[in-house]
Symmetry: C2
Subunit: 393 residues, 2 copies
């Protein structure tokens, strides 16, 4: 197992913003880092050349999705997921914990594992901590996640405690099954600060190579998400990476880095991009807006992405008005580059000792969009999946 | 006007296969050449980097479409179509003749021009030879087409003669309006060999910088298309480029080069690509076919495109099964590269004096697909547009 984490900033308090270097067999990742999401072994609409061109250092793929399609054995036969999608750099996989409890249907969970029906063809599957690790080993990823039990954001404390305890028991089984595959622990606990702190301490005592913060951005308020994140990082060892799963938006990244988070992933930049919504420091803009029809400039003169450096907004507007695929590509590239550039700017300000100013200025200027639709959708998935709190046992 | 055409092969009979160099202000084009189609100033699903990577030498855009969306004045304001789409090489535009007689509705044609309703919003427009040239001058293309009168492939000789005569009268007006913009002449005449020959001779006497063969692949049989093409090239000056418009498929390219055609364009490679159908020397294959699910190799080991050189068919199959945009890109890239590589192979065989062998072998091996759907669709458009032969006057 080639895996190391080295802090490169000096403030060692557990919730301080920090810079670091994560070392994997396939390369280093400087943090804070945003990981583009390639759920099905492709970052939607982008080639891996483009993913490299926006200076992504590591990608994310999803074990649940690849288990169902095309199957992890097939990916292994094709030489592993790096070869399959032709990305030579580091890859992190999510175990599919979130998906088996949200996208999948008719599930039953007990300590043995989760019985669910595929969201694609209704076929029945039994997913266990051991299977989650086997899938990720077959993919050949550089960093794996253990199977975790995810609940909707507003779940009451009793089911949330059950789920967190199960996640803890499952992590111990995942570590055994992982062999030499680097496997982070995932902190759960809903929106209950004491539960979150307890879970973080329990997992911290197991000396995992890294810590993920799961079960957030799934229907709770932004304030709850931010305070849970800070409550967890306060309990985690300083010398391990912290990864806030499924987050997020520019304001989420800036706020979470401010409380000691190192890594992020989210489908938001590509999903918004395909919808014509692009990040700027002032907030999101929609390229379909009539004001861009005759705009000869880029949306962001500071941005070095393909969209901003080579095309007028008039051209991007024209592509979207005509549903041309190149438009979806350009906006996705811009949004990922925006988030990665944001991590680069935060890194520079941490190094310069000016992060607090950067954050305050950024949050004062950035007009936060209402992401309620997205987090409510995630919450709805979790509730509709058949895994009601009563069924948790 | 920077435009030149230099034959580089020795057989000067008018229907002999040949190689040549077309010189424009934005670069040279060696022929035979296939031009990818970027109707709306984007080759569907591809970036211009990818268009360059498949070694396209020249692109095609469409004056009718850009006149309606986003408007040729806007493209001019943005610095012209090269800057707009960021393609520094040569661009040829179609005048929109085919589109005003097919996509548009409720039209009336007389010698003054064509009154039509937009296929997008029903707005009424009057398109004239002069307006077609003004649009193309605003775009700033390197090679323009005159407005021509296009009929369905099986039109009777009387309306076909009327249309050819009008196309001839319009060409003289287009030349005046073109100023120093290089403007080819377009040979019409339906499936009537005498009419085709007469039209070609009339246009040849006008000493155009190049000759397009229009009104084919619009509902007539392949045999009719091939024999019309040969009838026309026999009458055209040897020292001018010949461009077979809207064609085509691999077998069409090989057959037409065999009768002295130099240039081609067609939406087929990108349209088929988005549908998962890819060219091989044995015919078309559909990447969705179950046989590719576990195929570790490329579809064509000889092909140097991004799809064939970097990915397994298993991966491409996986992308299409999941409707991932990258799949559409890869298959489009492969198909365009296939046609361009086919022109490169023909060029090499002409230079080596072995073209006849190449053609016979190719046509014996290539399993021709039934393109009836496509040409019937074009014919249907032409018939439904409201431009019935009776209305031609």
């Amino acid at each position: 197992m080639t895996f190391a984490f080295r802090l490169t900033s000096s403030d060692r308090s557990p919730t301080a913003p920090r810079t670091a270097i994560v070392t994997t067999a396939r390369g280093e990742i400087v943090t804070p880092a945003f990981m583009p999401v390639g759920t099905l072994a492709t970052v939607k609409a982008l080639s891996t050349d483009e993913v490299a061109s926006v200076r992504a250092q590591i990608l994310l793929v999803n074990a649940y999705h690849l288990y169902l399609r095309p199957g992890h054995e097939l990916v292994a036969q094709m030489g592993g997921v790096h070869r399959f999608m032709d990305w030579p750099g580091p890859i992190l996989s999510d175990s599919g914990g979130f998906q088996v409890f949200s996208l999948a249907r008719l599930g039953k969970v007990d300590d043995a594992g989760v019985r669910f029906r595929s969201h694609i063809d209704g076929s029945e599957h039994f997913y266990t901590p051991e299977l989650a690790m086997e899938v990720q080993r077959s993919l050949g990823v550089d960093i794996a996640m253990p199977l975790d039990h995810v609940l909707p954001g507003e779940s009451a404390i009793e089911p949330a405690r059950d789920a967190a305890e199960r996640t803890l028991r499952w992590y111990e089984r995942c570590r055994v099954a992982a062999g030499d595959l680097t496997t982070f622990a995932i902190v759960q606990g809903g929106v209950h600060p004491e539960l979150r702190r307890w879970h973080a301490r329990e997992l911290a005592s197991l000396d995992a190579p890294g810590y993920s913060i799961g079960g957030l951005s799934v229907g709770e308020s932004k304030e709850a998400m931010w305070s849970m994140t800070a409550a967890v990082t306060a309990e985690l060892p300083v010398d391990r990476p912290r990864y806030l799963m499924g987050v997020g938006s520019p304001e989420d990244l800036v706020t979470a880095v401010g409380t000691g988070v190192d890594m992020f992933d989210c489908v938001l930049p590509t999903r918004l991009g395909r919808n014509g919504s692009v990040f700027t420091d002032a907030g999101r803009a929609n390229v379909r807006n009539a004001r861009y029809r005759t705009d000869p400039g880029p949306i962001d003169p500071q941005c070095d992405c393909m969209m901003c450096s080579r095309f007028s907004m008039a051209y991007v507007h024209h592509l979207f008005r005509n549903e041309e695929l190149l438009g979806y590509r350009l906006a996705s590239i811009h949004n990922i580059r925006y988030l990665i550039r944001l991590t680069e700017r935060m890194r520079a300000s941490i190094t310069a000792g000016t992060f607090a100013d950067f954050r305050d200025e950024f949050l004062a200027t950035y007009r936060s969009a209402d992401d309620a639709t997205r987090t409510e959708q995630k919450a709805k998935w979790l509730k509709q999946s058949g895994f009601e709190p009563d069924a948790v046992r």
